[in-house]
């Protein structure tokens, strides 16, 4: 955790020195940075929820926005850039996952990684205590047991994507997205009844 946080700070120092000598940003650069400001946290959170590490997630996010810059520079479609950005991030995370699996370096599959990320041992704040830690633990165990695609649907919905956008990112039909979300929420409901 300490090392993960240290890396962006080092990058910031290096980047700041580069920035000091760089000329005034072009309007396109400014536009991409503005989109980064809007989307970075959401993209990174989604990537973490799929089991990508913080450091790899940051690299993927950088790659996404460099790809976005080239996309816009070539005059390609500006239609629904939010879904475009999530789609590229998702594809890169899949590529990252496949590469890690090939190298036999990934010891946890994405399902276990999400459960792990949601079960991170952290000091509960008063809000958490009010909500009830038992119920949270139950929810987290259900999340960890969900199929990968159902979990991705839920994460993307939590990031504010519409069903159509989720379908585009995960290459699913609208009906399949609705079914997946309904199935996951039904699991929550059943767990609540127990």
């Amino acid at each position: 955790m300490f090392e993960d946080n240290a890396i962006p700070d080092l990058a910031a120092a290096n980047a700041s020195s580069a920035e000091a000598v760089s000329p005034k940003p072009t309007p396109l650069e400014e536009e991409v940075v503005a989109l980064f400001d809007q989307m970075r946290d959401r993209l990174l959170r989604y990537l973490l929820s799929t089991g990508v590490s913080i450091q790899d997630g940051e690299e993927i996010v950088q790659e996404v926005f460099l790809a976005l810059y080239q996309h816009l520079q070539r005059g390609k479609s500006r239609r629904n850039l939010r879904a475009w950005v999530f789609q590229v991030a998702h594809n890169l995370s899949v590529k990252h996952y496949v590469a890690r699996r090939r190298d036999r370096q990934n010891l946890l599959d994405s399902g276990e990684a999400l459960a792990q990320s949601l079960l991170v041992d952290r000091t509960p704040n008063p809000e958490d205590q009010l909500a009830g830690t038992q119920r949270h633990a139950r929810l987290q165990s259900i999340l960890g047991a969900l199929p990968e695609q159902d979990r991705q649907c839920l994460s993307l919905r939590a990031e504010g994507l519409t069903y159509r956008e989720i379908g585009r990112v995960l290459d699913m039909s609208l009906g399949a997205v609705a079914l997946s979300l309904g199935r996951s929420l039904a699991r929550f409901a059943r767990a609540e009844e127990r």
């Binding site: 396109l28 950088q62 990252h96 990320s117 991170v120 069903y163």
Partner: protein
């Protein structure tokens, strides 16, 4: 009206699926009004909708509450992105942009290509009746399928199913189906060894066992032959499974013009083999 009959009463209730769509604002406006009007009257559905809303709240709470504390500050990555963008802009500005480069990037080349394509197409249409009367056969395909006979058909498979398959290579086309393909292309008497009855969209990319997805590809073609297409299929399969290319694009590219797709994905004008 899609209402569901509940098990414990004779009243009609809104299905959970629709309650979820209503909670997510995904229902068409007319239907959303109907559901809202039903909810105003029905305690059972209101309670059920409340449970769904609560499940959504619980998930968002767990999701944000556990992941947000892990997010590092955006300041460093933001500065890094700005520096990389400035570098890309500088690199682009350093490339000479002479009149020739501008002409090649402009629309002229596309217009010229389109005009050439139309001219070749017109010539083929003009010459085809004479050719057929001489040969008594349709044009025998060499490197490219006839779009009217083989538009390409994909099965309803997603990327995970395709990439999870133990054997993604082409399946053997049954002999009876091969004969039908030969007949359709007017080469019923041709030697089966001269052609590979090939899937236009390979099963390794979700291609269907459908005659509209099959065509006789010549082994004898010197340049763009069946072995070259096999290499493209392997390449696209790897790209899709590595997450570098979405499945629909791979299927579209290989079915619309596989030679252009080869040039695009191998970044070459000639087969590498």
């Amino acid at each position: 009206m899609i209402f569901m009959l509940s098990k414990d009463s004779r009243h009609l209730h809104v299905a959970d699926q629709e309650l979820l769509l209503a909670a997510d604002g995904e229902l068409p406006s007319a239907r959303a009004e109907e559901v809202a009007s039903h909810l105003a009257e029905c305690w059972t559905c209101r309670v059920r909708k409340g449970e769904i809303d609560e499940s959504i709240r619980d998930f968002v709470h767990a999701y944000r509450g556990n992941l947000d504390p892990l997010l590092p500050s955006a300041a460093g990555p933001r500065a890094l992105l700005k520096a990389q963008l400035a570098e890309m802009t500088a690199e682009r500005a350093a490339v000479p942009q002479g009149w020739r480069a501008r002409w090649l990037q402009g629309p002229h080349l596309r217009y010229a290509g389109a005009a050439l394509f139309v001219a070749v197409l017109a010539l083929l249409i003009y010459l085809r009746p004479a050719f057929e009367s001489r040969q008594g056969l349709r044009i025998v395909p060499v490197s490219f399928p006839e779009p009217s006979l083989t538009p390409g058909v994909a099965a309803a498979m997603n990327r995970d199913e395709i990439c999870g398959s133990a054997d993604p290579k082409n399946r053997i086309v049954p002999a009876s189906l091969q004969r039908r393909v030969f007949e359709e292309y007017g080469i019923a008497g041709a030697s089966p060894r001269a052609y590979e009855v090939d899937y236009l969209i390979t099963p390794a990319l979700g291609g269907a066992d459908d005659i509209r997805n099959l065509w006789p590809q010549s082994y004898s073609s010197a340049v763009w032959n069946a072995r070259v297409k096999d290499a493209l299929e392997d390449r696209l399969h790897d790209l899709v499974c590595d997450g570098r290319l979405d499945l629909a694009t791979a299927q579209r590219d290989i079915s619309s013009d596989w030679i252009a797709a080869y040039k695009k994905y191998f970044e070459t004008d000639r087969p590498l083999q």
